[in-house]
């Protein structure tokens, strides 16, 4: 299963990945239209700055996901075939249990839509949009490293 990894030596903290992520999850999938949408999309990943380096953080799709255990609405499941945590928006009530238990802080609440923001590996696309968007190639999309 492919996963997202990050080369901290190359990450410039430009946040192009965040912009691409937000656009990829918008209705129109186009930058100029996405910023006008009523339910404004937000990025599913965030770049943090720590000790003079930049670290993108996104859901790790853990094999033993704490968020799935904590979800009180059974909206989160782990799909073995796809190797990822799936979020069912229809079941979600925005209780933020998943935000509370994620050991990477990779899930953020979207208080406007009452949905958690979490990386879904752009499951409806060929590959995550952040990969191409990174101007330095700091976003790596490759088979899981054990």
């Amino acid at each position: 299963m492919k996963q997202l990894y990050y080369d901290v030596k190359k990450c410039l903290g430009c946040k192009s990945c965040e912009v691409a992520c937000a656009v990829a999850h918008s209705l129109s999938d186009e930058l100029f239209k996405a910023i006008k949408e009523e339910k404004l999309s937000l990025p599913r990943k965030k770049v943090f700055f720590s000790k003079a380096k930049n670290y993108p953080v996104s859901c790790r799709h853990c094999k033993d996901p704490k968020c799935v255990d904590a979800c009180m609405a059974a909206a989160l499941t782990y799909d073995k075939e796809k190797g990822m945590v799936l979020h069912d928006e229809a079941r979600c009530v925005g209780c933020w249990m998943c935000v509370m238990v994620c050991p990477y802080g990779a899930v953020r609440p979207n208080l406007k839509t009452k949905m958690p923001l979490r990386c879904d590996k752009c499951k409806d696309k060929k590959e995550p949009s952040c990969v191409k968007a990174c101007p330095t190639g700091a976003v790596i999309w490759q088979e899981e490293v054990k």
Partner: protein
């Protein structure tokens, strides 16, 4: 081939059977529950009452779950007692079932205070789908309701009833809301948001009498004041359902006492969930932490060990996450300490105007608790610091920063996960 019996069909019970089935597809598993409903998301019943979710979304697992996992499920049957010597359980209807390994996940029940009128029609706990449906039936006839208690359950019930256009008054003995999860200042922010949205909060008062002939008409407070109400919801805490072990050699305190494998003092009997008393990693003492995610992790560990594995459970802690009218709140571990207590160190940052509050409680430079209001983004990594008992002295200054995150603690955590090259 073994016979597993799991008493309880909710968070802990389901987590347990899933853990067993991961390791053992052959043995027989029987779930027995005193509720007449397939496993459901208990925490969602207030959302159901508020009509935020429909009933079909309440199921915790799909209807096919039991069949697909080869689990026998017996509903609507209460277990009267456990017979450890004979390795069997005895139900109220006198039927007995034998087990090789037993999980007690009977949960807890609402505590009803000793008040005059508490036994009248129209007084409800807020625990089961059965109760909620009865309450729902009364809604067309109800103009005003009274909630006893300002805990999570009480406030969620208040929200639900307010959403159904019922006048709601919440009567709280303590001088603040959510006294079991927030400190005074954070509670103030929550109360403000609730009152702005039409929920009447009465602090520092207790109900002395529930008045009415047959049906309820009014509530009287110990201050003497009275007001109209035809529905009372009691949210004064829960007590573990331990009656079934009372006359046995199974050790219990407030809840059934368990060790690091979630075993009771009886080798083949385990306990998990609201009924379970376990080591609390923030207080260092054994206590009951009646919370959904805790129940799941305990059930998971218990099930793994029942199936022959040896999974150590580090311990529980209090963790709560809730949102009221756009205000998100998270409470982790120890949320309040006495000012005089020099053992603990408090770090705090507060912005009342923006309804933002962050408080961290440290003991010997180890995070033992946190309260976050408004911006709850760092909750997950703070919880990790608590659970892994990380010494945070090298990152103390960063803890309260707005974008404190995983990268700040990456050198300190135990995970060993590979994310960055």
């Amino acid at each position: 081939m073994k016979q597993f019996i799991i008493i309880g069909n909710s968070a802990a019970g389901i987590a347990c059977v899933e853990a067993i089935r991961q390791r053992d597809k052959e043995s027989k598993i029987t779930i027995i529950s005193d509720e007449d409903y397939p496993s459901y998301c208990r925490c969602l019943i207030s959302y159901y009452l508020a009509q935020d979710v429909k009933e079909d979304k309440l199921l915790y697992r799909p209807a096919s779950f039991y069949k697909e996992n080869n689990i026998e499920v017996i509903l609507n049957k209460k277990v009267a007692r456990v017979d450890p010597k004979k390795n069997r359980i005895v139900c109220e209807d006198k039927t007995a079932l034998n087990y090789d390994s037993l999980l007690i996940a009977t949960g807890s029940s609402p505590k009803f205070p000793d008040i005059s009128g508490i036994k009248k029609n129209g007084v409800y706990g807020f625990r089961t789908i059965k109760e909620i449906k009865e309450i729902e039936g009364l809604i067309p006839l109800t103009r005003a309701a009274c909630i006893l208690g300002g805990g999570l359950i009480g406030l969620k019930a208040a929200y639900a009833l307010k959403k159904r256009n019922i006048d709601v008054k919440v009567v709280i003995k303590s001088p603040q809301v959510l006294s079991q999860m927030l400190d005074f200042e954070a509670a103030g922010l929550v109360r403000k948001r609730l009152e702005e949205n039409g929920i009447d909060i009465i602090l520092g008062n207790d109900v002395s009498e529930i008045i009415g002939e047959g049906d309820i008409r009014a509530i009287k407070l110990d201050s003497g004041k009275a007001f109209e109400s035809s529905l009372v919801i009691v949210g004064k805490g829960v007590s573990p359902n331990i009656s079934l072990v009372k006359d046995t050699e199974i050790k219990f305190n407030e809840g059934i006492i368990t060790g690091e494998l979630l075993k009771t003092n009886i080798a083949n009997i385990y306990a998990a969930g609201d009924v379970c008393e376990s080591y609390d990693i923030t207080t260092g003492k054994h206590s009951v932490n009646a919370l959904w995610p805790i129940a799941v992790e305990q059930g998971k560990a218990a099930g793994a060990n029942m199936a022959g594995d040896s999974v150590k459970y580090d311990g529980s802690l209090g963790i709560n996450s809730i949102e009221f009218f756009g205000l998100a709140v998270v409470s982790l571990g120890i949320y309040k300490v006495k000012e005089a207590d020099k053992e603990f160190e408090e770090l705090k940052i507060s912005n009342e105007k923006e309804a933002r509050y962050k408080k961290l409680i440290l003991k010997n430079n180890i995070l033992v608790g946190a309260v976050l209001v408004g911006d709850i983004r760092p909750s997950g990594v703070l919880l990790r610091l608590i659970r892994e008992r990380i010494n945070i002295s090298s990152i103390k200054d960063a803890l309260l920063c707005e974008d404190f995150g995983y990268p700040d603690m990456i050198d300190l955590v135990k995970g060993g996960e590979k994310i960055y090259v």
